[in-house]
Subunit: 194 residues, 2 copies
DNA sequence: GTCTATAAGAGGATAGAC
DNA sequence: GTCTATCCTCTTATAGAC
């Protein structure tokens, strides 16, 4: 995973920039993190950053592309499957795992929505989120059931972010959130086809 | 409500600043909105802003204080009530209404969490959120039920923000979200005291 | 691939006239 | 209560030496 190894060797500077930048972006926000700060933490100069990335935005774009590939794969896979309850459950399961694998990025996106929306990755993210919702919901179901499907996704987010600060073991909390989310789509699905 | 009247008369400048600032903050984020921009939109100068507010942060603080009083009242009320299912339902109902009345502010806080966390209102907000969770959850309940209580709150948020861009009538969506949220705490409550 | 130096500008904030 | 003028700091970004 890109976020937990030091990468001390020369030649990995690009990777190290991505790691440090993501860490700082997630910690204190995108706008409040300056290139000077990133450079200082890496013991290089701002100019060195510009050798590897054309702009500040390019940094977060590259991180985003590297870490959200699993979601794209998941959507592509699910769109080729029958829309059964078991498929939906698998979607939630994999989505939860993908988030756990890229915690910092997802935390960043959750807490900097206003920023992300104006960045070029905003559109991509929005499209993916909509695609996921489309996989879960039934367009002709009652409104409350549609809400349940969206709420299921939000529950996974909540489980990743908010709950981690409250409870103990993150992995246990993640599983509890997954259980509740699965419960929600199950109800929505059953009321659809009793 | 502070966010839907023009306030054209002189002498309301303070109020007009609050209105315009909140609108811009919610639209494009706190950091990306400059005092110059706020002043321009009001056809005054930056210096005029500084007559009414000591800092940029002071502006959002004052808006926050004006619009989140209902939540404080709600918490105070609920802490004096028995922790029955009906009380919890009433909490969700009122919380949902309070959010509907201050949409812009809640949208702002939702989409600028990273910023809010570093502002002085961050602590206050966090305390309120925790107080709400404490009113809903039973500390000795299974983890999944605790998640349900938190998920109920997040569902109301989701209903306010995300869903509005998808579905038609906001008020209908709000009610559907409230229904799902109520459902969630009901399950958590019943499994607690069967 | 990394540095020094610097451009060019925007941001928040203040002093003091009117 | 609002303006003009200005300060100072920090930002992103570039040019060009090593």
């Amino acid at each position: 995973m890109s976020s937990n190894s030091p990468h001390q060797r020369r030649g990995n500077t690009r990777q190290r920039i991505q790691d440090v930048a993501l860490e700082l972006f997630a910690e204190q926000g995108y706008e409040k993190t300056s290139l000077r700060e990133i450079a200082e933490r890496l013991d290089v100069t701002k100019a060195a950053l510009y050798y590897h990335f054309k702009t500040k935005e390019d940094i977060i774009i590259s991180v985003f592309q590297d870490l959200t590939q699993p979601i794209d794969d998941l959507i592509e896979w699910a769109e080729g499957e029958p829309r059964t309850l078991e498929t939906k459950r698998e979607v939630l399961r994999r989505y939860s795992e993908a988030m756990a694998a890229g915690t910092s990025l997802y935390r960043f996106m959750q807490e900097n929505q206003a920023t992300v929306r104006e960045l070029s990755i905003g559109d991509t993210m929005k499209k993916r989120l909509f695609a996921l919702v489309e996989l879960l919901r039934a367009p002709d179901a009652p409104l409350a059931d549609q809400v349940r499907c969206i709420s299921a996704l939000f529950t996974l987010h909540a489980g990743m972010m908010f709950l981690q600060h409250v409870e103990g073991d993150p992995e246990e909390t993640r599983k509890a959130a997954l259980e509740v989310a699965t419960d929600l789509i199950t109800r929505a699905h059953h009321q659809q086809q009793p």
